[in-house]
Symmetry: C2
Subunit: 362 residues, 2 copies
Amino acid sequence: METVNLELGADSYSIFIGGGLLDDGDLLRRHIGGKQVLIVTNETIAPLYLDRVLAHLSDYRVDAISLPDGEQYKTLDTLNLIFTRLIEMNANRGVTLLALGGGVVGDMTGFAAACYQRGVPFIQVPTTVLSHVDSSVGGKTAVNHPLGKNMIGAFHQPKAVIIDPELLSSLPERELQAGMAEVIKHGAMGSLEDFCWLEENITELLSLNISKLTYALKRNCQIKADIVSRDEKEMGVRALLNFGHTFGHAIENSMGYGNWLHGEAVAAGMVMAADLSVRLGMCELADAIRLKDLIASSGLPTVPPDASRNEWLDIMYRDKKVTDKGLKLILLRRLGHAEIVEGVSEQTLLATVNSKDLLGFE
Amino acid sequence: METVNLELGADSYSIFIGGGLLDDGDLLRRHIGGKQVLIVTNETIAPLYLDRVLAHLSDYRVDAISLPDGEQYKTLDTLNLIFTRLIEMNANRGVTLLALGGGVVGDMTGFAAACYQRGVPFIQVPTTVLSHVDSSVGGKTAVNHPLGKNMIGAFHQPKAVIIDPELLSSLPERELQAGMAEVIKHGAMGSLEDFCWLEENITELLSLNISKLTYALKRNCQIKADIVSRDEKEMGVRALLNFGHTFGHAIENSMGYGNWLHGEAVAAGMVMAADLSVRLGMCELADAIRLKDLIASSGLPTVPPDASRNEWLDIMYRDKKVTDKGLKLILLRRLGHAEIVEGVSEQTLLATVNSKDLLGFE
């Protein structure tokens, strides 16, 4: 078992990573403070893993709620289903919420935990690559608004994150690939060494080599944990983790949540960010192309959809990365190093947004 | 102008109290960090005071949203109207929300500020007695769920609270009286000296003597601020502020929000708590009767409604004051001093709940 510690003062917690951890009842129970547990999962995950989790919790008053599966259900209305179930089970402030699912389940469970009776503890048991390396690290929780992604949320840290890479065997290939977008992102914006390791090992990761996966997940959690512990509330350096996300959110939002998976949109968004970085003279074309190639070899899109591009700028200006000074973009300086850039002209931005041939500068 | 400082580390803020403060534009602008402001108010308050606030903000990008008036609208659906307006105005993380209204507007504005883009600043300009002394102090924000009051919320401290007691002249008499319930509560559970002062001055407070009001509001904010700064997240001593509230919430919830005003329910709830305290031998009957008399002389109910009493116990056991150890009640030891009591038998509790003659022990 690998352990990554997040140092966040009173909110510190650990991420545990290892094949078979879903069956480690002691590890789970050690992080439950009270007597009540509500497991939040979805219709896809419940038949696969719910009973295995319930088996550890016979000494608790446990209830479970199964939400509809998909980003399009990450809404205030679905969140309210969790609140209703909590009140119906007479859950008090000692209740622990347990998120068993991917990023959507994790985001909603964490936000429900942040708000129920003004804050109760929660534990993450993520079941997808995306949630292993991204949404389970750092305490960002949220739901979407019809006009913008993750617009309503809270910073609320879990008591523990338990990652069992064996759960990935039940993940559809498309979602496995989509999750790799965040893995690639962490290399591209944070660590050249990890980026090179990914170039060599991407095939084995996609074929679910558990020891390679455990290593990659640990490294990704470390990279993200290092940044989050320096900037829990995203006042500065944490914004770098949004590499590919401003473009990606525009794609997701304009295409309708759930049509492009989050990771797919981020993948194409990273290529767009790389394209813009080269246009601005910040980044060598060769680096940008290596990034694009790694994305392509993961089976991820390197070209955004053609439809709705005229909406993207509006959506981007509604994004959380906008300040009074304008759009805050995360751009590539070189592989392993991204930077926050403000004041990019609308003309240059539009050149990337409207390009039919990203990185086709030659 | 009187100032009460809340010492909450990085979340510290000040409450400013004084006749005419609504027209002090400098004081308001000093607490606005960015360029965008959304004023949240309601249909009753907007025609009275909105223009006077807008007059101070000509240098900002300002929008205003007017919510329907009443506790029955303190819901996730109404909250979402605020989020929609924020996104429509392209509000970024630098936006300041300004709550102009009573407790309902304050609670919803504060909770919207806690959640929008995971947290933006807000300022309270409360317009009722209840919000002057209660909901504007301490950073508790929430909306109701059909099954329980204030079940969904956050701790989120304002940047400043600006209290102008002259605004109370527009308050209906019933709401003025209802607000006194929280003023009386602070004396009863926190300060014998203030309780005695209230016995002498309640008539002048109800006839809106501005200097007496300024003094009473300052003292109330100080009493509450002192408790909140010792226990921001209600892990211990802050629970004392819920004196009268467990019974009060049961009354409000069972009668339907808005039929009994919050303060009216708390008033009857305090008499019930006093009755139970005497039954348990904790408190002298004479002290309990002085409390009941002060409540009566404020024009507030000292007898709960007859209807729905059979539901109250269920509602009380769903309340936030329930722990794994059972119901946590706030009971009176003597005037000026309340205590947290656990383990009260259901039989004794029912004797108070079903009593047709509270405190009629003679």
